[in-house]
C-alpha cells in the first residue's frame, strides 16, 4: 500500500489538502487481473481473478470446474472393473498411485487378501509415481520462475521413468496397471536391474538439481517467505502431503498408518518449518531421495510368487485359455460385461499420494456397480487456500504459489 507519507518523502504532493494523512492513494484505482483458465503458468484449467493495488494482490478469487467430467457419477454407472481407466485421468502425473488406491478399496470391500509379490509391486509403482510427480512439481515451479535448465534435467529423468512404466504396462501416462485382486501383468524380465540403473542415474541428477537451485540466490529470494501457510491454517484447510509437512506438521500415512509394504521399509519423513514455497520445494526434493532409498530396498527384497489373489470372483481368465476353450471364453465375456458382485458395505482407504491424501470412498449396496463413488483428491484442498496464501504479495508470486502446491486440474475438478 502506498500512502501519502511515502509519496511525500519523495516529492511534494500537490493534492495535499484533498488526501487524508495515511490514506491509500490507489484505493480507487485498483486493477482486476484475470489469470487463466488458459494461461501457460497455471498448467491446467484453473482460473484466478486478482484485485491489484499497484502490483500487490489485495484480494483474489478462484474458479474451478473447467475439467469437470462427472467422474463420481460415472463411478456409479460403470462396473468396478470398468472404472479403473478413469482413475488414471485423475492425477495424470501419478496415475499408478490412483490405480493402487482404487483397487485396494474395492479389495477391502470384497475382503480379498493380496499375495506378497503383488503388494511389493504396488508399493514400488507408488514410489515411482511419487518421484515422477515431484519431479514435475519442482520442475514446473522452477520453470515458471525462469529456471529452465533445472526443469529439463528433471524432465529427462521423468522420461526415463516413463520408459520403465511403459515396459511394465504398455502405456506411459494412462497406465491402468492394477486389477481388482491382481495386476495387468507381472514385472517383465530384467525390470529390477533396469530399475536399479535408473535409480543410480536419478540420484546423480537429483544431486545436480540440488546444486543448481537449493542455494541459488535468485531462487531463494523468489521463494523464501512467499505463500506462507501456517500449521494451524494448513490443518484447518485439510491440506495433506508435502505441503502440510512443509508447514511443520509431521504426518505421513505411510509411516503413521502403514499400508501395502511400508511396514517393512525404512524411510524418513522430511519436515520443514518455513511454511513457504521454498520449504515445499525442499520437502519434495528430500522426499525424492527417500523414495530412491525405498525403491532400493524394494529392489533387494522383492519376493517371488503369484501376483493374483486366489479368489474366483475377481480372477480374470488366462488369455491362453480364453482363446482355446469355450468355457473360458464365456467366463471372460461374462466377467467383463456383467462384472462381479461386491457385498454391501463401505470403505475408505486413503493413501499417501505424492500430493497428499488420496482415497476413494465407496459405498456398495450389492451388485456390480458402486452406489456412491467419492474421490478424495488432494488438489481440491490445496487450491482452496490459494487466496489466503497470495494476499498482500506481488502478482508475480501468485505463479510461484500455484506452482508450489502442485494443482492437477484432473483431480481438482474430477
Amino acid at each position: 500500500m502506498i500512502t501519502k507519507t511515502d509519496v511525500n518523502s519523495k516529492k511534494q504532493n500537490q493534492f495535499e489538502d484533498e488526501v487524508e494523512e495515511g490514506a491509500d492513494l490507489f484505493e480507487n484505482s485498483q486493477m482486476l487481473i484475470n489469470i487463466g483458465p488458459q494461461h501457460p503458468a497455471t498448467h491446467g484449467t484453473l482460473r484466478m481473478a486478482c484485485r491489484l493495488n499497484g502490483e500487490t494482490v489485495v484480494d483474489s478469487v478462484c474458479e474451478i470446474g473447467y475439467l469437470h467430467r462427472a467422474m463420481e457419477k460415472l463411478g456409479e454407472v460403470k462396473t468396478y472393473h470398468k472404472f479403473i481407466p478413469y482413475t488414471d485421468r485423475l492425477n495424470y502425473c501419478s496415475a499408478l498411485q490412483n490405480n493402487v488406491a482404487y483397487v485396494t478399496t474395492v479389495e477391502k470391500l470384497l475382503g480379498i487378501e493380496i499375495p506378497d509379490r503383488n503388494i511389493w509391486i504396488r508399493t514400488m509403482v507408488s514410489e515411482i509415481a511419487r518421484i515422477i510427480d515431484h519431479l514435475i512439481c519442482v520442475g514446473i515451479n522452477a520453470f515458471d520462475l525462469g529456471a529452465m535448465t533445472f526443469f529439463l534435467y528433471g524432465f529427462h529423468q521423468r522420461e526415463q521413468a516413463y520408459t520403465l512404466i511403459e515396459q511394465l504396462c504398455g502405456s506411459r501416462l494412462t497406465t491402468t496397471y492394477t486389477r481388482v485382486g491382481g495386476l495387468s501383468g507381472d514385472l517383465p524380465d530384467g525390470f529390477i536391474p533396469r530399475l536399479k540403473e535408473w535409480l543410480v542415474e536419478l540420484e546423480a541428477t537429483l544431486k545436480e538439481m540440488d546444486k543448481l537451485l537449493t542455494t541459488n540466490r535468485i531462487w531463494v529470494d523468489r521463494t523464501k517467505g512467499v505463500g506462507i501457510m501456517s500449521a494451524d491454517d494448513a490443518l484447518s484447510y485439510s491440506m495433506t502431503g508435502p505441503c502440510l509437512r512443509a508447514s511443520n506438521v509431521n504426518v505421513d500415512l505411510r509411516r503413521d498408518r502403514p499400508y501395502l509394504a511400508y511396514k517393512s521399509l525404512e524411510f524418513d519423513v522430511p519436515v520443514a518449518k518455513g511454511c513457504d514455497v521454498y520449504d515445499r520445494y525442499l520437502v519434495r526434493m528430500r522426499e525424492m531421495h527417500e523414495s530412491v532409498r525405498i525403491l532400493r530396498q524394494i529392489a533387494e527384497k522383492m519376493p517371488s510368487g503369484p501376483i493374483w489373489a486366489d479368489d474366483k470372483r475377481v480372477r480374470i481368465p488366462e488369455k491362453e485359455r480364453v482363446h482355446n476353450s469355450m468355457e473360458s471364453l464365456i467366463h471372460h465375456f461374462k466377467f467383463f460385461m456383467e462384472g462381479f458382485d461386491v457385498p454391501p458395505g463401505e470403505a475408505y482407504c486413503p493413501m499417501e499420494g505424492p500430493n497428499g491424501e488420496v482415497g476413494f470412498y465407496i459405498i456398495s449396496k450389492g451388485g456390480p456397480k458402486a452406489y456412491r463413488m467419492r474421490i478424495r483428491a488432494p488438489s481440491f484442498f490445496m487450491f482452496q487456500p490459494a487466496p489466503d496464501m497470495v494476499r498482500g504479495q506481488p502478482i508475480a508470486d501468485v505463479i510461484a504459489v500455484i506452482g508450489s502446491v502442485n494443482i492437477i486440474a484432473g483431480e481438482l475438478d474430477r
Binding site: 480507487n28 485498483q30 482486476l32 484475470n34 482460473r47 481473478a49 484485485r51 484480494d59 478469487v61 474458479e63 474451478i64 470446474g65 469437470h68 462427472a70 463420481e72 457419477k73 460415472l74 454407472v77 477391502k108 470391500l109 475382503g111 491454517d233 490443518l235 484447518s236 484447510y237 485439510s238 506438521v249 504426518v251 503413521d256 498408518r257 457385498p343 454391501p344 458395505g345 463401505e346 470403505a347 475408505y348 482407504c349 486413503p350 491424501e357 482415497g359 470412498y361 459405498i363 452406489y371 456412491r372 467419492r374 478424495r376 481440491f380 484442498f381 482452496q384 487456500p385 475438478d413 474430477r414
Partner: protein, 191 residues
C-alpha cells in the same frame, strides 16, 4: 470387512455423546459410523475435536450421498428437470470423514438430511468445509445454514438440477452460450 478401530473406543464415544448420537454402525465398514442428530452436529464436532483421548480434529473429507431416492418415474417438464415428490425425511446422508492426528484413527460421522432441508455448515470449525459444502450443494442441492458463500462450484451457475442425485439421468447435457463472467465469481469490475 474387518473394523479397523478399537471396539472399546466406539463404546466410549457412544456413552459420552449418547444425547447427540442416534445410532452406531460397526458392521460392514472399515471405520465406525456414528449417525448424529442434525441439530446437535456442530456441538458434537466442536467437542470431539478437543476431547481428551479422542481428538478427531482433522476433516479428511466431507461428502454426501442420495440414500433414499424417489422411486416414481422421472418427470420432465421440458425446460428444466423436475424430480417427483420426495419420499419424506432423510433422503440424503452427509458424510464427514474425521481423522485424529494424535491416535491416527478414523471415524465416520453421518447426518441425515431430508430433501429441501437445511443442515448446519461446519465452516466455523474447518475452513476446508467451504468448498466441500459448495460441492455438495452443487451435486445434491443440500443447503447449509451459515455458509458464507453457498453457490455452485464445479458446474455453471445456469445449470438446472443437481446431477449426483440418483434421479438425475447420466446423459442430460446442458449447454450454455458464453462463459461465466467475472462478476459471477463475486468480484465487481469497478471498485
Amino acid at each position: 470387512m474387518i473394523l479397523d478401530f478399537p471396539k472399546e473406543k466406539v463404546e466410549r464415544i457412544r456413552a459420552r455423546y449418547s444425547d447427540a448420537i442416534e445410532s452406531v454402525e460397526t458392521e460392514n465398514t472399515d471405520a465406525p459410523i456414528f449417525f448424529v442428530k442434525k441439530e446437535r452436529v456442530l456441538e458434537f464436532f466442536k467437542s470431539i475435536r478437543t476431547e481428551e483421548g479422542l481428538e478427531y480434529n482433522f476433516l479428511s473429507d466431507l461428502t454426501a450421498y442420495d440414500d433414499n431416492p424417489p422411486t416414481a418415474s422421472i418427470v420432465d417438464y421440458g425446460l428444466g428437470f423436475v424430480a417427483p415428490e420426495s419420499p419424506g425425511l432423510g433422503r440424503f446422508v452427509m458424510v464427514y470423514q474425521l481423522f485424529s492426528l494424535h491416535s491416527m484413527e478414523r471415524i465416520r460421522v453421518k447426518v441425515r438430511v431430508g430433501d429441501g432441508e437445511e443442515t448446519p455448515s461446519v465452516t466455523p470449525i474447518w475452513k476446508a468445509a467451504n468448498w466441500l459444502e459448495r460441492e455438495v450443494f452443487d451435486m445434491y442441492g443440500i443447503k447449509f445454514s451459515g455458509h458464507p458463500n453457498l453457490r455452485r462450484i464445479l458446474l455453471d451457475d445456469r445449470w438446472v438440477g443437481h446431477p449426483q442425485r440418483k434421479d438425475y439421468p447420466i446423459k442430460r447435457y446442458q449447454r450454455f452460450e458464453g462463459s461465466a463472467t467475472i462478476e459471477s465469481l463475486g468480484m465487481e469490475l469497478d471498485k
